[in-house]
C-alpha cells in the first residue's frame, strides 16, 4: 500500500453526508439494500444528528463568499460550517482574537 497524497482535500460534514445520501443511506430503514456498509451507517447516523443534515451546497458556497472579507483561516471556517454557532457565546472559542 502506498500513500500518494495524505491530504487530497478537506470535506465538510455536509459533503460526507451527501455522499452517503447519494448511495441511498437515508431511504432504507432496514439498512440492508443500500450500498452502504454498517460502519458507514454509524457515521451517517451521527451526521444526521448534526446541523449538516439541514445544509445545502448553496448555503455553504454563499457562506464562504460572505466570509472572504473577514479573512478567516480555513480551519475556522470549517469549524463554523460544521457547528453553526448561533450566538456569540458559541463563536468565541472558535476564533482567536474575536472582537
Amino acid at each position: 500500500m502506498k500513500i500518494l497524497q495524505s491530504n487530497a482535500g478537506v470535506l465538510t460534514n455536509y459533503e460526507v453526508l451527501a455522499l452517503f445520501r447519494s448511495r441511498g443511506a437515508g431511504k432504507d430503514p432496514t439498512c440492508v439494500i443500500a450500498a452502504v456498509a454498517p460502519s458507514e451507517f454509524k457515521v451517517y447516523d451521527y451526521l444526521e444528528q448534526t446541523v449538516a443534515s439541514h445544509q445545502t451546497i448553496e448555503i455553504i458556497h454563499k457562506f464562504v463568499e460572505d466570509c472572504e472579507k473577514y479573512d478567516l483561516a480555513k480551519g475556522v471556517m470549517l469549524n463554523i460550517v460544521n457547528i453553526r454557532p448561533s450566538s456569540a457565546v458559541e463563536i468565541d472559542p472558535l476564533i482567536q482574537d474575536c472582537d
Binding site: L4, L11, S39, E40, Y46, T50
Partner: protein, 206 residues
C-alpha cells in the same frame, strides 16, 4: 473532521468475483480491506470515495486470481488540532471523561484538560463512576449523560501495535494497517485527546 486521502494499493481479486463488473468488484474488495480500519497517520477509514484508476490484471503463475494495482481516494476521519466536535459522554471516571461519536469511541478528556474550576462527587448509578461538576460564576453545571459535549481537539495519537508473545500469527496480518486486535484490555489504534474548554460556554446556554 473528514479528509480525503489518495492511496495506491496492489490487491488480489478472488476468482469468485470474476462475474462482476471490474469497478464493482474492486470497490467491494477495497471496502472489505480498508473500511472501519485505522491507517497509521491517516486516520480511520470511513468510506471509499472513488476509484481513480485500475491497472494490471496480471495473473501470477500458480494463482487463479488476478492482481490489480488501483489508485483510489478514501474518506478518512482525521480531525485536526483545534477542530470543534460535539459528542456524547460514554464514561466518566477519576482519570477524566471518555466521549463517543457513535462510530468512534476513543476520545479522552484527561483531568488536566477539564474545565477549571470543578469538583467531583461519586456517581451512585455507575460502578467506579465519578460525576464531574463545573463551577462557573457561582453556578454548578454537572456533566451529565444526556448532554451534548462540545470540545476542541488537543492531539491525535496513533499508539503502536502491542507486541505480545503468543500473538505471532496475528501480527502478520496487521502490519501496516493498524488493525484492531482483541486483547484483554481493548487496544485503541487511534486516540484523540481533547480539551473541554468549550463545554464551559455550552453550560451557559442551558
Amino acid at each position: 473532521m473528514f479528509v480525503m486521502s489518495e492511496i495506491e494499493h496492489t490487491l488480489r481479486l478472488p476468482p469468485h468475483l470474476l462475474n462482476r463488473p471490474l469497478n464493482v468488484a474492486i470497490k467491494g474488495e477495497l471496502e472489505s480491506l480498508f473500511l472501519d480500519k485505522v491507517i497509521g497517520k491517516l486516520g480511520l477509514c470511513v468510506s471509499v470515495y472513488d476509484i481513480l484508476s485500475i491497472d494490471g490484471g496480471f495473473i501470477f503463475p500458480g494463482d487463479g486470481a488476478s492482481t490489480y494495482t488501483a489508485k483510489f481516494r478514501l474518506v478518512m476521519f482525521r480531525p485536526y488540532v483545534g477542530e470543534v466536535i460535539s459528542a456524547r459522554l460514554e464514561e466518566s471516571t477519576k482519570d477524566g471523561l471518555r466521549l463517543s461519536l457513535g462510530f468512534f469511541n476513543d476520545i479522552y478528556v484527561p483531568v488536566p484538560l477539564m474545565p477549571n474550576p470543578y469538583h467531583i462527587e461519586p456517581d451512585p448509578e455507575h460502578k467506579n463512576g465519578i460525576k464531574w461538576i463545573w463551577e462557573y460564576m457561582g453556578e454548578n453545571y454537572p456533566i451529565d449523560w444526556t448532554d451534548e459535549i462540545r470540545f476542541s481537539v488537543h492531539s491525535v495519537n496513533y499508539p503502536p501495535l502491542p507486541i505480545e508473545q503468543g500473538k505471532d500469527s496475528e501480527q502478520k496480518d496487521s502490519e501496516e494497517k493498524g488493525l484492531r486486535q482483541k486483547d484483554i484490555k481493548p487496544f485503541a489504534p487511534m486516540v484523540i485527546t481533547v480539551s473541554q474548554q468549550l463545554c464551559c460556554y455550552y453550560g451557559l446556554l442551558k
